[in-house]
Symmetry: C2
Subunit: 657 residues, 2 copies
């Protein structure tokens, strides 16, 4: 059975002339043990909610997964698809791309992400197991793991946290081949990795990874242990190809006909390319059907559920939010519009999440050791090793693990992950934003402390380039609300955005109210005219986001007082504005007027909206440590400076420079 | 002596009404042991090349460092400066900002960075010790470390690597106070941290961190051990303030007069605010002068050096490159211009670094397990535990540690750090780009595999948003050369850029030659007209970077054949172009013509150059797995598509849409 994986891999790699055969050849026996003896799945229903989740964290070994899916009977992974490995349009892509409906749980490739995704899945399972009961949710999460995943910081973070949270149904199958792309593992690593896991509270097994029975026995021992399990499977990279196996070159060896020929001779595999002999095929198909009784029993239990529990389960597995979930936000917006009080930006978001948590029981919040400063815990009790029904994760000072675990939770389904940190620390988890966007996962990231407005903590903690860098990520919505009304609107839009992640960016400092209406969700179009020009058509349009909208309103007053008709546009979400019709965009931007962008951040990207002759008030470098008001003045981000910039642009436009 | 630190901290925090007193109060005794008994420095000459380096990795505890610098006699840290803690313009900023001339070695605050910087400094010291001899370089690197630094992935990466490389003169003083911002450490961590260090090959000591003599004795034992040392100093956070010490609130407690009053009573410190009694002051000043004999002996040894060694040392400590260093690049450019062969992008950079390494003996290259794919090792022998004169670092699969260690090397001085990885993995080390830029450190980052041009590895490995996100970082130069000539020019500009980092971005695939001249460094102005329009003033200007410049040239041919006079502008470095005079910019951009940007990346930022009515050919989402040529066609980035986009824009401009 393992040789079937090996030769599908070799034949596919030989055909396309590239690929990474080292891992599939080395880990074939380990994976066979898992799929043959343990994996709970149904290839005919890849989306079975209570299936085990499998993550190929060393995603470059993608042919391992494709061969397993093909042999187990996942239809999209036909022999034809495998023949077209790495061709445009084949599901057998260079690295696995998320397609749970086909059996690929997450996109992997950037190392370390997959094991953190797996930990997030295991957390989601533990939570749902607690909430829905063991009859409905009781499955395991398996991650195939390479050395890279364990060397990466995000991997180390997740080892610590998963052990600490006692995610007992999480198992890592470490392909311990002692060879990396540069050469022997000893070039860059001397750690005793099993010991590393033990000291973080894992159950550890060490076995011969080419002995499937030994791996299977280790899995059984791991299942019996309440701790997460790491099985060190000692293997030989590129196993089976004479002259290649065990060498550095095996990692991404180009396999030529003489290699595959020699392997056929060495392993006694007299079959043609892409041929799987009937008995092996039968054994694999039988393995693929091994969980059918479990599957049917589960379906029967679900069918027998009381109607309300059944509806709730259907809602969760379809990723729908509860009926009326947005009411809490709309009530809040109405109160805020009527109240007219300035509120600390991030605390507004905390208030909103508190209300959301009350109506969305699957919402799981958390932060990397910033609970107090970000205020997104409130009434939620923590998720701990002893209480896995908790809904707030203390991630520790581990932003990267947080982001990647949130993606794993979102990919698992049935939970709504929210994670909060300072905007400057979004760089620490940036790889996870990209992957959430690429996978289309609705992870909800909240970033606080969004500008020099934080004051005295200084430039390391003052974002200036982050809004631009977030907006650069395709398929993510980046929101920067101006006040409590917009915050509620943006939170509603973020939660409704099911096809990708959202980033909600908040000031730490108080946001003065700029909106006194709360009927229509005006943020839904991304940008809108907040304040029309008075006394004629606008000569100036001020475009602003977040805390700078209030400044723009004051600048407008100054300009109007000088006789310059000025409109103010709030732009809480560029991506949504980009999707609007040209006519709406033109109406909002006020073509024919001088446009000035206002944002306490770098200009990059703003010229999209400013057009020729536009102006900008923002940051051109890093911030400084000082009192908030001193900083706004020091960096020239004031109502007066905005009005002056508008006048300068008007002068340029009329030729009077 | 420790109480002097405590009360300066308390008084400064009380005065400004904020700050993070927990660490300075808790670690005061530990730091006193270091400064009183061990630190090799000279407050009168903070830039002494052979000084010990101190990094406050838990940078929020900045008052600890400011108090130490003040008490030791570093002039900028006057009492007045401390009184203005966290005020705009004070050197006592919220977090330490690099100012080695004042005694602050690196900017810290984002957790984990400081300890990785320290490891980079220790690596630089080990290398220079080997190269210049122990008479000239023989100092230690000390890092004060909090729990956050050790929980962060980058911290975990550096523990593994520093142990493996046996950086024996590196010492971590861990402030083991078992309290983080969220509460007790047990909320998010169960690891046995001393064991964690031991298994990565560290010497570990565990002491009472409030017993300065015990800490000092542990330091002595650590010095005698050839491994790096971690001293776990058990402390109480906020030590000395009744009602605050030992609590979660101590981390960033707001200290009021009743707190400081109670502390004065409890610790028997009857002095006024900001008053340091004479005997304590004397003891501190004496400690500050403890290394004077060493300092003078070192100066004498340097003065006695043969002239050539002296010149070399001066060159290294001033950060000047050797005379004639650029000749190798210029020769290469001339050969490339004459040769006219397409070369693999990243291999061009590898060739250049190979030549540079031959003339810049302090150049240290390295990559995170991508030696083969990035080709920046060549003749360099590895830096290992056994050979610390090596000049290539196998970082393992640890991008974040690489970036932060490079910053530490650059901050140390005397070495030129170059680090190479794939462009998509720049996100893994992005926090280090920002810090290099903020600190003004000339770290040299090389990013390969820069677009869908990599082909079959698929979207995880195909950057689309990275050029925009790199360009968003203030004070970093981002280069994307079009061919071998531009590559040599850009490398020269990057090495000459001493006030901040540079990122050099290369295609994996072959770059066809676009430049046949190599006299003037045309990349120096950031953008230039590569090919003028023929047959009249240009109606279209195509602006392109990197591998797309060759496409733009072919599109120009198509447009010229259709009778559209078209110029092509190559833009290898936007930041340098931004610095040019308006007249030059206008001349290059061809105001009055239709401009089309061409880059296999997102549009964000491009509108700065395109103006109203401009066009763009690039990416709007993620890539795909397939053959390179299939991808260019699939995503519509072809000479034909560029010509069509130009025609479309011309039609719009003339009203014929």
């Amino acid at each position: 059975m393992a040789h079937a994986i090996r030769f599908l891999t070799m034949d596919a790699c030989e055909r396309v002339g590239e690929g990474h055969p080292g891992t599939p050849l080395g880990a074939a026996d380990t994976a066979t043990a898992l799929y043959r003896d343990h994996l709970r799945h149904n290839p005919a229903d890849p989306l079975w909610f209570d299936r085990d989740r499998v993550v190929l964290s060393n995603g470059h070994g993608s042919m391992l997964l494709y061969a397993l899916l093909h042999l187990s009977g996942y239809e999209p992974f036909s022999l034809d698809a495998i023949r077209r490995f790495r061709e445009l349009g084949s599901p057998c892509e260079g690295h696995p791309e998320r397609a749970p409906e086909h059996g690929v749980e997450v996109t992997t490739g950037p190392l370390g992400q997959g094991i953190a995704n797996a930990a997030g899945m295991a957390l989601a399972e533990a939570f749902l197991h607690h909430r829905l009961g063991p009859d409905i949710v009781d499955h395991r999460t398996w991650a195939m793991v390479g050395d890279g995943c364990l060397q990466e910081g995000v991997g180390q973070e997740v080892i610590s946290l998963a052990g600490h949270l006692r995610l007992g149904k999480l198992t890592f199958l470490w392909d311990d081949n002692r060879m990396t792309d540069d050469g022997e593992i000893g070039l860059a690593q001397g750690d005793d990795m099993p010991a590393r896991f033990r000291l973080s509270g894992w159950h550890v097994e060490e076995v011969d990874g080419h002995d499937a029975a030994a791996v299977s026995a280790a899995i059984i021992r791991g299942k019996a242990d309440p701790r997460p399990t790491m099985i060190a499977c000692r293997t030989i990279i590129g196993r089976g190809v004479p002259g290649v196996e065990g060498t550095r070159a095996a990692h991404s060896a180009r396999l030529l006909p003489h290699h595959t020929g020699a392997a056929r001779a060495a392993l006694g595999w007299p079959y043609l390319a892409f041929e799987v002999p009937g008995d092996v095929q039968t054994a694999w198909r039988e393995a693929g059907r091994r969980s059918l009784p479990d599957y049917e029993a589960w379906q029967a239990r679900v069918a027998a559920l009381p109607a309300d529990r059944r509806r709730e389960l259907d809602r969760l597995r379809e990723g729908r939010l509860p009926e009326g979930w947005a009411d809490a936000l709309r009530d809040y917006a109405r109160q805020a519009a009527a109240g007219g009080r300035a509120e600390y930006g991030i605390r507004i978001s905390g208030d909103l999440v508190d209300r959301l948590a009350a109506v969305i029981p699957e919402l799981i919040s958390g932060a990397p050791d910033l609970e107090g400063a970000t205020a997104h815990k409130r009434s939620l009790r923590p998720f701990t090793s002893a209480d896995q029904g908790g809904r707030y994760v203390h991630y520790g000072i581990r932003e990267h693990a947080m982001g990647a675990m949130m993606n794993g939770m979102a990919a698992h389904g049935g939970v709504v992950p929210v994670g909060v940190t300072y905007l400057v620390f979004s760089d620490y988890l940036r790889p996870t934003l990209r992957l959430a966007a690429m996978m289309g996962l609705p992870s909800l990231f909240v970033f606080s402390h969004d500008s020099i407005g934080i004051g005295r903590n200084g430039p390391t903690h003052q974002p200036v380039e982050y809004l631009a860098s977030l907006r650069a990520i395709p398929n993510m919505l980046t929101f920067r609300p101006a006040d409590a009304v917009e915050a509620a609107e943006c939170w509603e839009l973020a939660l409704a955005n099911r096809g990708g992640p959202s980033s909600l960016v908040f000031a730490r400092q108080p946001l003065p109210p700029v909106r006194r209406d709360a009927g229509e969700n005006r943020s839904a179009r991304g940008a809108y005219v907040l304040e029309e020009a008075e006394g004629g058509a606008p000569r100036v349009t001020l475009l602003a986001t977040g805390s700078e909208v209030a400044l723009a309103l004051r600048a407008r007053e100054a300009l109007q007082a000088r006789g310059v008709a000025t409109a103010v546009v709030s732009m809480p979400c560029w991506e949504l504005f980009e999707r609007q019709e040209r006519a709406y965009q033109h109406a909002v931007l006020g073509r024919g007027t001088v446009r000035v962008g206002v944002e306490a951040a770098v200009r990059l990207g703003w010229d999209r909206w400013l057009g020729d002759g536009g102006g900008f008030v923002g940051m051109s470098g890093y911030g400084a440590s000082g009192a908030e008001d001193d900083l706004w003045r020091h960096f020239g981000i004031t109502a007066g400076a905005i009005a002056d910039e508008a006048e300068r642009c008007l002068g340029m436009a009329s030729g009077v420079t």
